[in-house]
Amino acid sequence: MVNPQKQNEEYLHTIQEYLIKMPSLSTTMTKVLAVCNNPNTSANDLNKVVSMDPVLAGKVLKLINSAYYCLRNQVNSLTQAIIMLGLNTIKNLALSTAVLGSISKKTALQNNAMDIFWTHCIETGVWAKALALETGITKSECEEYFVAGLLHDIGKIPLIHCFSADYMKIVAMAAEKKHSVHTIEKAVFGLDHEEIGNLIAQKWKLDGAIAQTICTHHHLSQTDDETHGFVERLAVSNILSKGTINDLEEEGIEDNFVKNILQNSLIKTFLEKHNLALSTLKTIQESTHTEIENAKLFMQISKG
């Protein structure tokens, strides 16, 4: 008989091994390599490609905020980080991260799961940025919201990569039984994607609002006072984002967008608190759709 505690320790060990050399996503890797191997790459393109890869974005923030740079304030803007680290450093980091991914062969299941995951991350980021703008956050601070959206589910990457078949079953089960994915993750692996996200945040020395988002976007009550408003916008964006990791179903919402919004207490409270009209969300939803299509197009260019 399998000892559950021993089994969980094995899961943890596998995850920790994976975290040592965490590669770029399969979805973004080709584009990262194309952009970074081009000697004439512009800073704008580099920023764009880093902004679309949660692992790379996290590693850039790690480098700028790590022990090498004794900065008074945490840098959470990729634009700032690129200027301070310089194009070469970012390119080298991106190449080494992407190459890690090209070494290991991936199954179609893993690639497919990663594509779905990637879309959800970008979508959450776009929602978070838009909601921030609509709720009184200055334009220059909005990038941090996008980055937090991009990184909020970073803890899922090791699960998708290391246990892809089991993980897809968990996602299907969550949708079928209307349970949250993180609850089933906890039951199966002994830890959920917020806890794994916490391991990554610690390893990457992420701090403040982004780390809080990674660790508490499903448990808002555990968020500290200072970052509560920030994480709340991310938790709402997470639900509004229609990723196929079934976040809508996860939160007990069905298909119809407007109907669903009104059924979700978190979103309802948020709308009332910020005096936001449903029509505003509808508009954001349309622009989000365009941004996702553009992001997909940007990624596909290199694959041609």
């Binding site: 512009s42 800073a43 704008n44 393109d45 920023n47 764009k48 790590s66 022990a67 090498y68 740079y69 004794c70 900065l71 803007s77 634009t79 700032q80 690129i82 200027i83 301070m84 310089g86 194009l87 070469n88 450093t89 080298n92 980091l93 080494s96 334009k139 220059s140 909005c142 990038e143």
Partner: protein, 306 residues
Amino acid sequence: MKIKLWGVRGSIPCPGPDTVKYGGNTPCIELRFNEINRQIIIDAGSGIRELGNNMMVNDLSKGPINTEIFLTHTHSDHIMGLPFFPPIYLKGTKLKIYGPVSFENDTLKDIIGNQMSYQYFPVRQIELASQIDYIELKEGQVKTKDDNISITAKLLNHSVLCLGYRIEYQDKVVCTLYDSEPFQNIFSIDPKDPSYDKTMADEGEKTAQMQNKLLENFLKDADLVIRDAQYTEEEYQASKKGWGHSSIEYAIESTKKAGVKRLALFHHDPLYSDRKLDELTKKFCNPDTTGNMETFFAKEGMEIIL
């Protein structure tokens, strides 16, 4: 504090009849603090060879060599002299090498020490008789063996992680600022450019200005600043942007703003002959350009006492 410049050239050693006056060796600066019997060396470019020879003659008779090298970064012109620094072959020598590394997978010991592997050099690092300790640095206050000298490191804009140093002893301050290009907004600012993004452009501008201001503060009221000034502004604008170096005009202007007393323009381009540097001295090193700040092009062998 006595400062001696053993190498002032950038990029690659360039000995020859055209570089006799200003020197052809790559960066190495020595700081001596005789009252407390301490020596600090900044960078191990080819200039460190002659410094090492000098130490063998003048210091060794007083006892084993015990010194510290602070590397600004790990580009070859700043580390290439180490295998030719004679004290590293002596049993009894104690050497601490401080410096930055860009990525955690490469240690300072490997980056510097790998010059001494059979592919590049007949002696391996492991065979050295001296005791060498490597200390990886980050931006901020550096902890050294005692508190008599305060050393602060500052992130510079170069193509690899590079640190400037502010060294304070009693009431005197020396700063090094090389290799260093002013922080730039590298994002497109042309609205007609298809990749133009206003937020990115504005954020880039703000960040670059803020970082340059922090550099100015780092130099505040120093008695001597030794600073990268590899090109003229015309050369820089024409083809050297993004290469990680400053123009003479920018170096003078921004150092002046920091209320610095003396500025040594440093890291001369290998193409600059003595004649060219003399011409540049005439053009730039005058009160009309530099105000009250004494400004000169660094010369190999030069000694400055503060």
